[in-house]
């Protein structure tokens, strides 16, 4: 019983660390690719946490499926962005958007 409790706490801690790393990467990474990696890490962390908490199988499958869809869509967007902007760096995207907005306003 005590072992189970300790295992649950350890697993939860591991999931929390993964979650934190993924969230930081998603919000602060310099390139789109790294942000997508952050999203993938977040999804894995959520799956791990669900498994540790004993969530029903249906929820685990739904989580895996949703995560996969997000990654696939993200990769597609990343390719289009690279084609249009010529770069996958977040700073270049923000600069490009600001430039477009300035042109539109004038």
């Amino acid at each position: 019983m005590a072992l189970d409790h300790a295992a649950l706490i350890l697993q939860s801690a591991a999931a929390f660390i993964l979650f934190a790393l993924g969230a930081i990467a998603l919000m602060t990474a310099g390139s789109v690719g790294k942000r997508m990696m952050g999203l993938a890490t977040l999804s894995l962390a959520a799956l791990y946490a669900l498994a540790a908490l004993g969530a029903p199988q249906s929820l685990l499958i739904a989580a895996a499926f949703a995560g996969l869809c997000q990654i696939v869509l993200g990769i597609g967007l990343m390719v289009r962005i690279k084609e249009d902007y010529g770069s996958a760096e977040a700073r270049d995207l923000d600069d490009g958007d600001r430039e477009s907005e300035r042109t539109d306003q004038t």
Partner: protein, 494 residues
């Protein structure tokens, strides 16, 4: 034969609505002709709308609603059914506004026509959120919300056509949605761990649920995730870029359907779990604080907005703050007032976004100057939408706020009146500025003439939106409906 069909459709109502929308979306992939695609989409939306409104009507008059016991994790409750009907009606109005003979200006340099793909994605957005509203467990709600969200990202990405910033906005929306979905999953995991079940009808009645910390944390995470998807400040970083750069149709569809769906799910979660289980006071305080923050932040951003669609989006976010306050107060009366406010919000967003879709995405506010002369119907609809946001008397917006204040003061929460007054005063500033530009200024910059085709195509949607707003004059039907449905919980309809 007809009676048999009607009865069968009624007992399979959630499945029938979803089947209509999903089959419509799938069929649109195979259709190349734009007019045929639009007709198919309208037929699917109309079917879903009729079935959903029938469900709400029967629930509100106390008619016995039977549901087939299929193993599909779909069920009907009062708040979910009402919100689903609202989404279905909004979908119908959005599709009317997307008529194919209209030259939609998705960027400044070229007209863009409505693609069948965009129509299919709009149907998918509605189907996803309606699934979440009819879900009987957290898994189905998660799947529905994710379907709606991912379809929204896709629509934002394809709507921009030549505007690459639409892709950037779609990516930001995807990343934000990914974070929200992970929060939802964590929350569902904690709720299941604490309550022993993820079925809505069983969560609230689980022994010790109200005092279980894991369950409370889980519920808080779920509400946070849904608030982020609804665009409630301060979790709305995706809202401005989306509405500032995506195409007109995407802005209209996501701004109305996505927001309604997410807010409806929030209302459902509160009505069916928080209210019933009498969960710790902290949950209600958290929701109310989020609501107050939403009102303040959304209003300030709307006041400072220089782009029309961003102004509308932030104004909507401020109204969502009022809805969160109503939900946080957690009584059947405040839940009913939240439903009235949701109806008012839907009507406002429809009128304003539909009108704004006739202008370029990056249209600065000065482009509205003198629009009343160039496009009188659009201006009238936008004016009524703005008055609704202000909460002017005789509008539905006024009714929703009045009910919130009435329920709040009746429960001893006098400060609700203050929060509503702040929201209304701020709305007077930014919405009043809008009305002033429409009617009392001459066009300063070389403004494009809004084509007759565009006005004609928008007319039915605008008229419907205006009618909804003016429902505040004789609201008895709406009020009795929301009072009745607010008391129907998951599991009550079998």
């Amino acid at each position: 034969m007809i009676e048999f069909l009607i009865e069968t459709t009624r007992i399979h109502a959630p499945l029938a609505i979803l089947a209509a929308l999903l089959i419509g979306a799938a069929a649109l992939v195979c259709v190349a002709d734009r007019f045929l695609a639009w007709l198919l989409a309208m037929a699917a939306a109309a079917s879903g709308c009729v079935i959903a409104l029938d469900v709400v009507w029967r629930l509100s008059i106390g008619h016995r609603v039977r549901l087939a016991q299929l193993d599909l994790a779909l069920g009907i409750d009062g708040v979910g059914g009402f919100a689903a009907a609202l989404v279905a009606l909004a979908l119908f109005c959005v599709l009317i506004a997307a008529a194919p003979n209209r030259r939609l200006r998705d960027n400044q340099t070229e007209s863009a026509r409505v693609e069948p793909l965009a129509l299919g994605l709009i149907l998918l957005i509605a189907a996803g959120w309606i699934t979440a509203l009819f879900a009987s467990d957290l898994t189905m709600m998660f799947l529905g919300a994710q379907t709606g969200w991912i379809a929204s990202v896709g629509l934002a990405a394809v709507s921009g056509r030549r505007d690459r910033a639409a892709l950037s906005a779609a990516l930001r929306m995807l990343l934000f949605g990914g974070l929200a979905s992970c929060l939802f999953l964590l929350g569902a995991g904690f709720v299941g761990f604490g309550a022993g079940s993820i079925q809505f009808s069983e969560i609230a009645s689980a022994p010790g649920f109200a005092s279980d910390k894991a369950a409370s944390i889980g519920l808080g995470l779920i509400l946070l995730a849904l608030a982020a998807m609804a665009g409630a400040p301060p979790l709305h970083a995706w809202l401005g870029p989306l509405h500032g750069r995506a195409g007109g149709l995407a802005s209209l569809a996501i701004g109305v359907l996505g927001v309604l769906g997410a807010v409806g799910c929030l209302a459902r979660a509160v009505a069916s779990i928080v209210l019933v289980a009498d969960v710790a006071q902290g949950m209600s305080v958290g929701l109310v604080l989020l609501g107050v923050l939403g009102v303040v932040a959304g209003s300030l951003q709307a006041i400072g907005a220089t782009n029309l669609r961003r102004l509308i989006a932030y104004a909507g976010a401020a109204q969502i703050g009022c809805i969160l306050i109503a939900l946080g107060l957690g009584t059947p009366a405040t839940i009913a007032s939240a439903l009235v406010q949701m109806t008012a919000l839907a009507a406002s967003l429809l009128a304003l976004f539909a009108g704004a879709s006739a202008l370029p995405a990056s249209a600065p506010l000065p482009s509205l100057d003198g629009l009343a002369r160039r496009a009188p119907l659009i201006s009238l609809a936008m004016t009524l939408g703005a008055l609704n946001l202000i909460g002017a008397p005789l509008t539905l917006g006024f009714l929703g706020r009045f009910r919130l204040v009435q329920a709040g003061v009746g429960g001893g929460w006098w400060w609700t009146a203050g929060a509503v007054i702040i929201a209304s005063l701020a709305a007077v500033f930014y919405a009043g500025r809008l009305i002033e530009r429409l009617y009392f200024r001459r066009a300063q910059i070389s403004a494009e003439r809004v084509g007759l085709g565009a006005q004609a195509a928008l007319a039915p949607s605008l008229v419907l939106a205006m009618a909804l707003i003016m429902w505040g004059v004789t609201p008895q039907i709406l009020l009795s409906a929301v009072d009745a449905v607010a008391l129907i919980l998951p599991g009550d309809v079998r």
